[in-house]
Structure formats: structure tokens, C-alpha cells
């Protein structure tokens, strides 16, 4: 115990734990708000001053644990996590909810702990810690729906932890080591079951395709401030783990490419703006996973830089949509519009976030995404490069344009909410400033990256390429809007015969969507019925009145005793040779 405390002393996690313990005893208000601000600052300071190398040694059940492994990869993630926690704390200044505040501190603390974990057991402990702490941010919404969403989220997150510990145990028995280093070895064909399980656990938290549904399910269901916090940590922790453990695994490139592509279409037709942002979060993760898969120094730098920038601009977007939700009570595109009149500052910040995520030159997304694009191009993955470029255009369309356009412009919803509260504006302002600052002075970010960088983002080729893409995407959007084809606009459209084929295409899409939807709901109903039938069957046997739980007569129990004794005797005396 003492050993653990001294080990914890070296880690930034300690301050989050202390903060979480002290917080409930401080009356809600300024003092408490200050505490949530001070803790991330101390954390950043501890990370900044920590000596590189291994520290925080402890042992559990005969295994050596390393609570504080400091190198440039962990520092960059540790710092951005601290910064995200700080910005989220400003944004949540108005909060008077002890549960959410404690959960936020614990969540950020465990995520940072995971980043500095030098062994797999410590990683696992923090891994489950993030799951347990974060679910309260969803439950804090207090609705019946949020409760069930939280349950689904928790089951999946804990499930990934269970898979992780199973993988760790297998890995340990195979290699005799629980050190958290690269697992790639000689490539996927040489991996044991343990390594695959570890990858699967990372993949669930990183929202790999088909493992991603928890993200879009849960993030939009959290509280206004909760979503901002959630968007920063869990998935980026998984990206860090992938970068640490599976850098240079080629098939991750294709996994990442698929991740960048498929959410685009779903985001395009989604009405809830926070869900749109969740899909685009998934798409951005795809870029990072591609970087991990390429695995060169340039690519890993790209992954780290993109995670850094992404946390900032995604927080900014969630903050601005959250501010709108806070003021108007809705985040549905169809119910918003025209808010620029009364929320001009929020609009400006939202556009800065949108420009960053779309990778406009001079905004943060540009300087980080370029690294990954260059890495794929340098390493001869033309198809992947093309996919990423296409995905970038998609990002621009659904996050870069759709979010600000439908919220603040488009048709006037008639809503005239007040400007966002001051603390939210400060949080958004700081975040927006960081986005622009990184975009203009990329070298400050590059200096933090794991490998030394001599990359110049602002070459004519890069800028031109990106501007072509952006301008064409803007043009396409403008055309779609002009002719009323953007999916959200449902106002009357005058169609000529000439245009009927344009009408047909959406109709076909709509029809197939309906068919798929119908089949899906039938399947769900069927599985629901099957679930009930199985439950009935189980409770018939195991339930209080079932066979397994019945009160039996004493004689019957003695009979069991006799049967068991008979079996043992037969086994010992008859079957086994003397």
C-alpha cells in the first residue's frame, strides 16, 4: 500500500485522485470550479517536469508494475489530455453536479494514467477506470434513455477490458512479461491469441469499423459538458495504445481507411448534430489509425499531432453545439438555423472549429493531417491516399459546412437564444485560439512530437492541393444546396422532368433504406422474442421456483450424497487399476 502511494506520487494521476476525493467536501461554486482547473494544471506541470524513463515502480501479486513510463509519445498525449481537462473544466464552470465533476476528474486522471502505464496490468486497471468513471457522464443526463444508453456503453467498455485482461494473461504466459511495448514482432502471422485479443480490446475502444456503434450511441446521449469530456479521452487513449503496441501493422492502414470512409455517408444523412460530430470523430480516428498502420516516424508523428489537434477542434465543435443545445434545448439540424443573429461569437468559434477539422490552411487540422497524407503518399499507398483525400472532402461537407450552416444559417428557425454563457465563450475562445495558433505556428506542435520533424506543411503543393479539394467540396455543397438536394432540406422542390433521374436516385436510396430498416427491425423483434424465450427457459430452470433452486426433501439430498460417493468409489476402486 505504502509502495503504491509512493509510486502514485510520481504520477499525475495522484492529483486527479486527490481532487476527486476533496471535491465533494468543497461547496459547489467558485472554489470547486477552481479545483477542477488547478488539477489539470498541476498534472501538466508534473508531466512537463517528469524525468524521462521508467518510474513509479510497484508490485502486485509478484508482478512488477511501472506506473510512470515517460517518453515523448506519452508526454504528448499526457499534455493534451491535461489541456483538454482544463478546457472542459472552464466550459463546465456553471456545473453544480458533484457526480459529474468527480467523474470528470477521475475519467481524465485514469486516461492520463493509462498513457503513462509502463505495463499491461496497470494499463488494464486504468482502462477499466475510464469506463467506470465516464459512464456517469452519460447517466448524469438523468433520462430513462440515457440510463439504458449508459448501460450499453458500460457493458461494451467493460467487455473490452475483460478482453484486454484475457489477452494480457495469455500474453504473459507466452512471453513471461507484462511490459507494455510493441507487440508487432514479426507481423500478424506470428501473433498468439493473446496479442489478437489485446488488439481487439484496443480496437473496441478505438471504434474500429463494426465495433464502433457504442460511440454514436453514447456520446450524443451524454450531458452538454459530458460529451465534450467524453470526446477527448477514451478513443485517443486507444489510439495511443495502438501507436505504442501496434505501430507498423500494415492491415491497420486499411482498417483506418475504411474508418475514414464509412461514417461520411451516415453523417451526411444524420439530423442530430452531436451525432454528426460523433460520426466525424470516428472518421478522424481513421486518419490516426492509418498513421499507426504506416508506422514510420513521419506517420507516427502525424498520428500524435492529429490526436493533439483533433482533441482541440473536436472539443471546440462539441462545445459550440453544446452551447446551442444549452441555450435552445435541441441539437437537431431540422429545428435549428439562423442563430448567427444572437449567438455570433459561438458562430465564429464553431466556424474556426469547422475550418480546423476540414484542414483549411492556417488551421490546426491542416498541419497534422498533412503529415499523415504525406506519410501514405511517401510509402506508396496510392489507393489509401486517395481514400483519405476523399474522406477529407467528406469531412468538410458534413462537419465543416453542415454543422455551422444548419446551426447558424440555413432557414431561420425563429429561435432567438441568448449568446452562450461567458465561461463557455472563454473555453471556446481559448480552444479556438489554440487551433489557430497551431495552424499558424506548426513548429510549436512539432517540437512536442515523438520524433524529430523537418516537415514543412506550408509548401505550395500542399496548400494548392488542399485548397482545390476544399473549393470543390464547397462548390459541390453550394450546388446541392441551390438545387435542394442536400439531405436535410425538406422544403418543397420544383422538379422538372429533366431532373427526374436526380429524384430517382434518392428514391432508390430511400427505398433500400426502408427495406433494410424493415428487415433490421424484424430481426431485432425476432431476436427480442428469442431473448425472451431464452430468459423464460433459464428462469424456468434457475429461477426461484426452478429445478436448480427448489427446496428439496432431505432424503433427496442424501440421495445425491450417495450418488456422489458411489461415483467416487467406483472411480477409485473399479475403474482405476490397482
Amino acid at each position: 500500500m505504502i509502495e503504491f502511494l509512493t509510486a502514485l506520487l510520481e504520477t499525475p494521476v495522484l492529483w486527479f485522485l486527490l481532487g476527486a476525493i476533496v471535491l465533494p467536501f468543497i461547496p459547489a461554486g467558485t472554489g470547486r470550479g477552481l479545483l477542477t482547473l488547478v488539477v489539470p494544471i498541476i498534472s501538466a506541470w508534473v508531466i512537463w517536469t517528469a524525468p524521462q524513463g521508467l518510474g513509479g515502480a510497484a508490485s502486485l501479486a509478484g508482478l512488477d508494475l511501472t506506473l510512470m513510463r515517460v517518453d515523448k509519445l506519452s508526454i504528448v498525449f499526457g499534455l493534451i489530455f491535461s489541456l483538454a481537462a482544463f478546457l472542459a473544466a472552464i466550459y463546465a464552470w456553471h456545473l453544480r453536479d458533484t457526480v459529474q465533476q468527480v467523474a470528470t476528474l477521475l475519467y481524465a486522471g485514469t486516461a492520463i494514467g493509462a498513457v503513462f502505464a509502463g505495463d499491461l496490468l496497470t494499463l488494464f486497471i486504468y482502462w477499466e477506470g475510464t469506463a467506470l468513471a465516464s459512464v456517469f457522464l452519460i447517466w448524469a443526463r438523468g433520462t430513462e434513455g440515457a440510463f439504458h444508453t449508459g448501460m450499453r456503453y458500460l457493458i461494451i467498455q467493460i467487455g473490452s477490458g475483460v478482453i484486454l485482461i484475457a489477452g494480457v494473461a495469455l500474453h504473459y504466459t507466452q512471453t513471461g512479461s507484462i511490459e507494455f511495448t510493441s507487440f508487432t514482432g514479426e507481423g500478424p502471422h506470428s501473433w498468439g491469441v493473446g496479442t489478437w485479443l489485446i488488439l481487439l480490446a484496443f480496437g473496441i475502444k478505438c471504434a474500429f469499423p463494426l465495433l464502433h456503434n457504442w460511440l454514436q450511441d453514447s456520446y450524443p446521449a451524454a450531458t452538454v459538458t459530458g460529451t465534450v469530456v467524453l470526446s477527448a479521452f477514451t478513443t485517443k487513449m486507444a489510439v495511443y495504445c495502438l501507436a505504442r503496441g501496434f505501430a507498423g501493422t500494415e492491415f491497420l492502414i486499411y482498417v483506418g481507411a475504411i474508418m475514414t470512409l464509412f461514417p461520411i455517408f451516415l453523417a451526411e444523412i444524420e439530423n442530430d448534430l452531436r451525432r454528426v460530430l460523433s460520426y466525424s470523430l470516428n472518421n478522424q480516428l481513421g486518419f490516426m489509425v492509418v498513421g499507426v498502420g504506416v508506422g514510420t516516424e513521419l506517420a507516427l508523428n502525424g498520428t500524435a499531432a492529429h490526436a493533439f489537434c483533433h482533441i482541440l477542434y473536436k472539443s471546440l465543435l462539441f462545445m459550440s453545439v453544446g452551447a446551442v443545445l444549452h441555450r435552445t434545448g435541441t441539437s437537431k439540424a431540422s429545428e435549428l438555423g439562423g442563430l448567427y443573429r444572437t449567438m455570433p461569437l459561438t458562430m465564429v468559434f464553431c466556424i474556426i472549429g469547422a475550418a480546423s477539422i476540414s484542414a483549411f490552411p492556417l488551421f490546426s487540422g491542416f498541419v497534422s493531417k498533412s503529415l499523415i497524407l504525406s506519410a501514405t503518399a511517401d510509402n506508396q499507398y496510392p489507393i489509401v491516399w486517395a481514400a483519405l483525400v476523399f474522406a477529407s472532402a467528406g469531412v468538410l461537407s458534413h462537419s465543416g459546412i453542415k454543422i455551422p450552416y444548419f446551426t447558424f444559417f440555413a432557414h431561420d428557425s425563429g429561435k432567438r437564444p441568448a449568446e452562450a454563457p461567458t465561461h463557455m465563450l472563454i473555453a471556446m475562445g481559448l480552444t479556438a485560439f489554440a487551433c489557430v495558433f497551431i495552424g499558424v505556428f506548426p513548429q510549436t506542435l512539432y517540437a512536442l512530437l515523438p520524433y524529430s520533424v523537418d516537415y514543412v506543411p506550408y509548401t505550395w503543393a500542399h496548400v494548392l492541393e488542399q485548397m482545390q479539394l476544399l473549393v470543390f467540396a464547397l462548390l459541390a455543397f453550394a450546388l446541392l444546396m441551390k438545387y435542394g438536394f442536400f439531405p436535410e432540406e425538406k422544403r418543397g422542390i420544383n422538379l422538372d422532368t429533366d431532373w427526374s433521374y436526380r429524384k430517382m436516385l434518392p428514391a432508390i436510396v430511400g427505398f433500400s433504406c426502408q427495406v433494410i430498416g424493415a428487415v433490421w427491425s424484424e430481426l431485432m423483434r425476432g431476436s427480442h422474442a428469442a431473448k425472451n424465450a431464452i430468459l423464460d427457459l433459464l428462469s424456468g430452470y434457475y429461477g426461484p421456483q426452478g429445478r436448480a433452486a427448489q427446496v428439496q426433501s432431505t432424503g433427496l439430498m442424501v440421495l445425491w450424497l450417495a450418488i456422489l460417493l458411489g461415483t467416487a468409489l467406483v472411480l477409485n476402486l473399479v475403474i482405476l487399476p490397482s
Binding site: M1, I2, E3, F4, S59, L60, A61, G62, F124, I125, E128, F147, I158, V162, A166, A169, L170, Y172, T173, L538, S539, Y542, G543, P544, G546, A548, A549, V551, Q552, T554, M557, V558, W560, L561, L564, L565, T567, A568, L569, L571, N572, L573, L576, S578
Partner: protein
């Protein structure tokens, strides 16, 4: 004086409560009885800790009763395995006692309080004696002392629920049949070897040719004790006994009685017999292993559907015993150590759970799930205790339960039994479900409309012992090294076979 106490530590730890029981009855005052019991239990616990420190280097304490040297005289023989079980029993005994004082005020009619303390002392004596003795027949004697007093203790729940009487009767019949099997097994051993001292038995068995008497004796001992430790499917007495007994009795029995019976099986399988090969090993692998895994799943599945929370915990105990038995069947150091660690951790966990649930019953008057509604708001400390102990039951990191499951899984891997590790994880998922049902009711349902007596937090006399256990669960979840080390020494001693390895320190007055 101190020298005398230290020299006679094994005897005093057991005999003090045995003498205290009739003394308490003679005084006939429940407060006096409580203080006498408390003093002896605390002293007994201190002596157990002292003995555990002595044997933690792998040595063995041998105490000759009355100075008569074994194998003629009765010997108390204590190594790390015994010491660990004795610490479990004495610590739980001392912690449950102050809790019991508050809880029996409502549960047992005042006239029976003195008798309650006496029976509690006797039960404690019996369990400690079984754990300490190095004489096979002495095991039976102490077992009967503990069993008979247990039947009375369970039956004392009749004031709350008349079903306690039938549960006690069931337990009486079955327990007696089990004990009879056990003593018949001992008879076979005595016929075959002519001795009852464990060291001597082990020596003679190792040197005698294989014969059917010895084999039948083993089957009778393991199955007879299997009933006492609630080996699936011989567990049917347990849910009734635990759920209708007074809360304090449930907490004490759930954390000690089955563990002691399990210890007896371990001692006979490994020290007296030799489990490394032959029919002993086959019995473990072909009878105990499948039953242990079946218990882990079936009993957990039953627990999920239970509406009575004490029964839920009782069935969960049956499944947890599956884990402890599972560790044995690996026949490696990690596995056997895992059994001991899980005994230790589960004693704390289940003890805390039964105590916390007992507090809810104390306030609401019912152990049915609906009466737990909204406890999270009305009894925050009790509900928090249930949550922490529940997490330990599941095996969440930073609780004691995680350490035992981790070691248990490591043992399975060492043995090369992959599927078993999946069974461990799979049944933990079932534990998640039944613990979650409790949490959901406690925190997400509105408290029941209060009648006249609003539900309040339980009194400190009950809360404090419970929370000591909760803190211990967290402490041993993080600083697990001490119990793990002791368990590994115990496992080493057991796996070496015999009961004679390690440096033997003779205590007491050697002579005659």
C-alpha cells in the same frame, strides 16, 4: 506470564473461547457474556497473528497437548496453511461479534442472548480447532463441536422467520450424514494404518502398498467433507441455512465454515494422502474439477434469478466455492495458493456483503429485493459497502477479488488449461449481472413510500465492523503481497506432500 502465553499460543487460541462459553452462561447476563466473548476473541485473533508471523518463513509449529508426544498424544500442528485459515476464522469472529450485539437485539428474543454468545464461542472453538489440530480424529471432534452449535445458531433465526427451523433441521441431518461419512473414512484409515496422527498417517500411507481400504477411505473423507463445504450438488443445505439464520450468524458462517471444511479436504488430499499422482489425482480431476466448474455457472445462474438477497448471496457463495476447489485441481503452486488467497479474500467479501445486507434487513425488515429500493439514498454507507464488496465479488481491479481471480487464472495458464480460464471469466460475467441487479435497485429505484418508520442509516456498531472489512478489501486489493506470500508458502508446504517438511518448532512443555 507472557512467555507462558506465547509458549501455549496454539492451545490458548482454541481453549480460551471453549472455556469462555460456559463461563458466559454461568454469569447469565448478556452484557457480561458479550464482554467475555469479545475479550477472548480479540486475544485469540492476536495469538493467530503471532503464530502466522512465526510460520511465515515456512517453519511448522508443533504443540503437544499435555506434554504427550505424538503419535500417542494429540498434536496441534500449524504451518502457513493452518495459520491462514485460523486468521480468517479469528478475524471474522472478532469483527462479527460487535455487529452481532446490535443485530441480535432485533432478531433473537432477549432471553436467548447469553446462549447466543455461548454457541457463537463454541462454533468458533470448533472451527479454530479443526484448523489447528494435527490429529485426524480430533478434526472430527472439533467439527462436531462447531456443527452442533451451528445448528442452534441457525435455528435462532426462527423469531424472524419460522423457516429457519426447517433449514436448521436439514442442515442437522445432512451435516451429520456428511460427518458420518468422514468418520467412517477415518475408521478405514485407522484400520489400514493403526494411527490417527496426521504426520504418522502420511508416513504410513506413503510406505504401505496400495489397497482398497485406503482408497475407499479417501472417497469417504472427500465426499463427506464435500457436503460440509457445499460442494455442488451437495450444497442444498446452504442457501436455507444462510438465508434464514440471524444476519450475524450468516456473516460469520459464510466467511468461515465452508473455508474450514475446504481446508480439511486440502489437508487430507495433500498432506495425509499424496495428490501428485494416483487415485487422489484422478478424483480431483474427474470429480472435483467438473463439479467446481458446474458450481461456478449453475449457482451463479440461480443467484441471478433470486428475489431474496440473502439467498442470492448464499448461491453466490456456492459458486465462489467452485473457484476455490478449482485452484486445487491444478495441482501446482499457483493454483493451490489461489485457493487460499480466494478463501481469504472471499471471507472478507462475503462477510462484508452479509453484514451490509443484514443492516438493510435490520432497517427494512425484509431481505427481498424490493425492500432494497432507494437504499442508495436512505442508507448511503450501507449501499456503498454493498457496491465495493460487490465489485470485489466480481473481481474488479483494486479490490481483493481481483487478486484471487488473477492468481487463479495465472495458475490455469501455468497448467495449460486455457478453457478453464474462459470459464473463470465467463462466470465472473454472471457475477456482474447479479451484483448489478442489487446496484440497480439500490440506486435507480425510488425508496418505498415510508410507512411510519423511515429507513435510516444503520447504527455505528454495525457499520464500523462492515467498513473495516470494506477497507480491508481495498487494502488487500492493492497491497496484496502479504496474503499472496503466505498462501504461496502454504501451497509449497502442501505440494511437497506429507506434513513434515520445514523446520519444526516444538511449543509447550515437551516431555512425557
Amino acid at each position: 506470564m507472557l512467555e507462558g502465553i506465547v509458549q501455549n499460543a496454539p492451545l490458548l487460541a482454541i481453549m480460551l473461547p471453549l472455556i469462555a462459553a460456559p463461563v458466559a452462561v454461568l454469569f447469565g447476563n448478556k452484557s457480561v457474556a458479550f464482554y467475555i466473548s469479545g475479550a477472548t476473541l480479540v486475544l485469540s485473533f492476536a495469538l493467530c497473528v503471532y503464530m502466522a508471523l512465526l510460520v511465515s518463513d515456512g517453519s511448522i509449529l508443533s504443540y503437544h497437548i499435555g506434554g504427550w508426544a505424538p503419535p500417542i498424544g494429540i498434536e496441534y500442528r500449524i504451518d502457513a496453511a493452518n495459520a491462514m485459515v485460523m486468521i480468517i476464522v479469528s478475524a471474522m469472529g472478532a469483527l462479527v461479534l460487535p455487529y452481532a450485539r446490535a443485530s441480535i437485539e432485533k432478531e433473537i428474543s432477549p432471553g436467548h442472548h447469553t446462549m447466543f454468545y455461548a454457541c457463537y464461542m463454541l462454533c468458533f472453538t470448533g472451527l479454530m480447532g479443526v484448523a489447528a489440530t494435527g490429529d485426524a480424529f480430533n478434526v472430527f471432534v472439533f467439527l462436531e463441536i462447531s456443527s452442533l452449535s451451528t445448528y442452534v445458531l441457525v435455528a435462532m433465526g426462527a423469531r424472524q422467520d419460522k423457516r429457519a427451523l426447517s433449514a436448521a433441521y436439514d442442515y442437522l441431518i445432512l451435516g451429520t450424514v456428511g460427518a458420518t461419512f468422514f468418520v467412517i473414512g477415518l475408521g478405514f484409515l485407522y484400520i489400514a494404518t493403526g494411527t490417527l496422527n496426521m504426520v504418522d498417517l502420511a508416513d504410513k500411507l506413503a510406505n504401505s502398498p496400495d489397497n482398497k481400504t485406503i482408497r475407499a477411505g479417501f472417497a469417504l473423507i472427500v465426499i463427506g467433507m464435500g457436503l460440509k463445504l457445499a460442494l455442488f450438488p451437495l450444497h442444498r443445505w446452504l442457501p436455507g441455512a444462510y438465508s434464514y439464520a440471524p444476519s450475524a450468524v450468516s456473516a460469520f458462517l459464510a466467511s468461515t465454515a465452508t473455508k474450514v471444511a475446504l481446508y480439511v479436504v486440502i489437508r487430507f488430499t495433500f498432506s495425509v494422502y499424496d495428490a501428485s499422482s494416483g487415485f487422489e489425482r484422478t478424483t480431483l480431476e474427474y470429480i472435483i474439477l467438473p463439479l467446481a466448474i458446474t458450481a461456478m455457472f449453475t449457482a451463479s445462474a440461480v443467484a441471478i434469478f433470486q428475489m431474496n438477497v440473502k439467498k442470492l448471496l448464499a448461491y453466490s457463495s456456492v459458486s465462489q466455492i467452485g473457484y476455490m476447489l478449482l485452484g486445487l485441481t491444478y495441482l501446482n503452486q499457483t493454483g493451490v495458493a489461489a485457493s487460499f488467497i480466494h478463501m481469504f479474500n472471499h471471507a472478507m467479501t462475503k462477510g462484508a456483503l452479509f453484514m451490509a445486507v443484514g443492516m438493510v434487513v435490520w432497517r427494512t425488515g425484509s431481505a427481498l429485493l424490493p425492500s432494497f429500493a432507494g437504499i442508495g439514498r436512505t442508507m448511503p454507507w450501507t449501499a456503498a459497502a454493498i457496491v465495493v464488496a460487490g465489485l470485489s465479488l466480481i473481481g474488479v481491479p483494486a479490490t481483493a477479488g481481483f487478486v484471487s481471480k488473477w492468481v487463479l487464472m495465472a495458475g490455469a495458464f501455468e497448467r495449460g488449461w486455457w478453457p478453464v480460464s474462459f470459464a473463470i471469466v465467463g462466470s465472473s460475467v454472471l457475477a456482474v449481472i447479479y451484483v448489478w441487479r442489487l446496484v440497480e435497485v439500490m440506486y435507480f429505484q425510488e425508496p418505498k413510500a415510508t410507512t411510519k418508520d423511515p429507513v435510516r442509516e444503520a447504527p455505528l456498531a454495525m457499520l464500523v465492523p462492515t467498513w473495516i472489512l470494506i477497507l480491508a478489501i481495498v487494502w488487500f486489493g492493492i497491497a496484496a503481497n502479504a496474503p499472496v506470500e503466505l498462501a504461496r508458502i502454504a501451497a509449497d508446504g502442501l505440494l511437497a506432500g506429507g506434513f513434515d517438511n520445514g523446520q519444526t518448532v516444538i511449543l509447550g512443555i515437551p516431555g512425557r
